[in-house]
Every structure is written in C-alpha cells, then in structure tokens.
Symmetry: C2
Subunit: 218 residues, 2 copies
C-alpha cells in the first residue's frame, strides 16, 4: 500500500512534505502478540496499518483490561504518537492481535509537518474525533447497556473479524476485552448456551443462532 492512500489530504501537501512522509516511514513486520505501544511515555510514532489487526486497550491498576478499539488495514494509530499531541493524558496499550505489517512515521518530524500544514493538522483532528466518538460510544455501552447485549455484540464482531463461526477464545480473554471478570463471562455464556445461541467447549465458542444474538446485541 502506498503512503498516499492513508492520507486523503495527500494532494494538499507540498512536494517536499510528500517526499518526507515517503522517506521517513519505516516498514516493520510484527508477529502476533507484539506490544507496540505501552503507556503515556512511550512515543514510537504514527502507525499506519498495512495488514493485520491491532488492539488498543487500557489496563486498570489491578491489571484488568478493556478493549478501546481495533485497528485494521488502512487505519492509523494516533496514540502511539501521543507525545506529539499536547494534552493527551491517558495510557493506552497497543498490541498486534494477528501477525501484522505496519509503517511507522517518527513523531518529531510528524509534529513539524502538522505545525506547517493546516490540512494535515485538520486531518489528525478528524482522526482524533473518530476515536473520541468510539470511546464515547463504548462508555455509553458500559453505562447503559446490559452485559448480555455487550457480550452478544462482541461475539458477533469477533466472528466477522475472524471470518468463522467457531471462535477460538478463552473466557478470560473475552473478559479482558469487555473489562469484566472471567466468572461474569462464563455465567453469561452458559446462559447463552442454555438458550441455544452458542455451543461451548474447551477454548472455543461456537455461534449457533446468529439472528438471536443479533437481536440481543441491538
């Protein structure tokens, strides 16, 4: 994938700016499970996802996790360059969920580019607004949606991402995504199984009734 494809404002950059972006982006292949970015102080740069899937999550003091969003092909990870964004004061961890290939743009140079180029600054603005909206959506889910509905939505999303109806995932892992305890997940999955929506076996969750789960997720 070309660098220009990540930036819809490419044509509004100067030839020099385009050249800098092309030359400074470093290609890297990352095996599944690589922690790319962790915490506030880490500042690797902007990550452009070429292929694979990344997961951004938060960790509580007690080590509990919750998935904030996923990054797929063509996505840009902003918060791995949080040092170039004034006022970002939260700690996000970004990890590869599958084998992945990314390009990394160094933060200092990118910051300079944003200071020079209003189109680029506005585009970063747009990216942040998108992430902001996702986080607000997630907060609404947590506050106002019941857990059965969140779990159903999660299972359906996973099926879509993994392109399968038999998810290889532990209850512990699901709990980490949804920011809850394993027991809570296990209890609800058993209820789903009782209702004929899923079939459970060691380390897998098989989706049996997508329609019913879909109604629950709404």
């Amino acid at each position: 994938m070309k660098i220009s494809e990540y930036f819809p404002i490419w044509d509004q950059l100067t030839a020099e700016q385009q050249k800098w972006l092309k030359q400074s982006a470093v290609y890297r292949e990352l095996p599944k499970g690589t922690v790319i970015h962790s915490g506030e102080l880490d500042c690797l740069g902007m990550i452009l996802v070429e292929h694979g899937r990344l997961r951004a999550y938060m960790i509580s003091d007690e080590g509990r996790e919750i998935t904030i969003y996923r990054l797929l092909e063509r996505d840009i990870c902003l918060f791995s360059a949080s040092c170039m964004l004034k006022n970002i004061q939260f700690e996000i961890t970004v990890e590869t969920e599958t084998d992945a290939a990314v390009r990394i743009i160094p933060p200092a140079g990118f910051k300079r580019l944003m200071e020079e180029s209003a189109p680029m600054a506005n585009y970063v603005n747009q990216l942040m607004a998108g992430r902001f909206s996702e986080v607000v959506w997630l907060m609404e889910q947590i506050m106002w949606k019941s857990f059965d509905s969140r779990l159903a939505a999660f299972l359906l999303e996973e099926c879509m991402l993994e392109e399968t109806e038999v998810l290889k995932i532990t209850h512990e892992k699901i709990a980490d995504h949804l920011g809850t305890a394993r027991e809570v997940v296990t209890r609800m999955l058993r209820y789903f199984q009782g209702e004929g929506m899923v079939r459970l076996s060691r380390g897998t969750v098989e989706i049996l009734d997508e329609k019913k789960l879909g109604q629950l997720a709404k």
Copy 2:
C-alpha cells in the same frame, strides 16, 4: 475578557484572522438552566465562557444523565460546534449551571479559519485531546472505581465549585451527574452519614469530614 486571551496561539494568526475573530464573536448572557447545545445536529458554534459555569452531559435512551465535564471561566466548548469537526458522532448536551456570559463564534467561519491556519487547527486539536483525556479518565472511574469513591470525589468537587460546605443539591441531581439511580445515591449518602462524613437534610448535603471523604476519593 479579551478574545485573544482564549487563544494562546493568537500571535500566530494574521491581522485579518484576528479581526475576524473579534468581530464575529457574539456576546450573550444566559440565565442558569439554559440548554445551549443539544444533540448531534445542533451547531451553534464555539462557545467561549466569560463567566459562570456550564455542564456537558450525555443522556441515555431512558433519560438517565451523566456529567462528562464542566466548563468554567476561560474555557472553550468545542462540541457545541461539532458540525465543524468531522467524525464527531456523539450527542452531548450543554447547559448553564449558573448564570453565565459567553461569546459565540459562528461555526462556518471558524471552520474556514481552521482550514487556513495550522496553528489554530493544532490548537483545536489540543483542546480536543484535553476533553478526550477527561472522558477516558471518567470511563476508568466508572469501570474500575467503586461508587463510594466516585461519590466522595463528586461531593468534594462540588464544595470547591460552589465554595461552600453545605451543598444545596438533591439526590436525584447527584444521580444525574454520576450516571446512576437516585436510590443508589441515597443509600450511599446514608452510609456516609453513618460514618460521620456528611449530614443530610431535605435538599442539602453538609460536609462534616472533608479529610475522610478525601481519603475515600483517592
């Protein structure tokens, strides 16, 4: 207050841009309880708070509220101009909590200014990052902090804002701020009263032991 004081990047604007900002900002006095902005479609413009206090909150389908953040003197409200920010897809309501005076900058013109001026685009970026951090902080509180601690922190913050130790506030109102049900607030306040931290009477909560509440809030 001068318009220039709201924008630390004032000196990086052109004389024309400065003139536009000064001329287009409309002064308005708003009584307590005025809804300034409501929902996604509303797009009044950027609000610069001259004095008073504004509250930004979300409302669930069932009418339950939660306070996202407060705007005080010298603050700028970004989301009342969400139409000029691509990708903002959530609905926030902004209301005056006290009598207030604001200046309003029309969104179309401000959008143009952001497109022209990289310093302004980066400053808006910074403002958004600050709000983003507040929302992430709030989400962490909701997910991982117990309710007693959130309630204690809320009472102490209210005392600071209102400059009093006797808060005139109903349990219903507190529930709206914290995104919970009235009964939950009443139960916890009674527990606080039992522990000698507050004294309750009709429509008021009096803080008796600030230190103890402070420890709980941590």
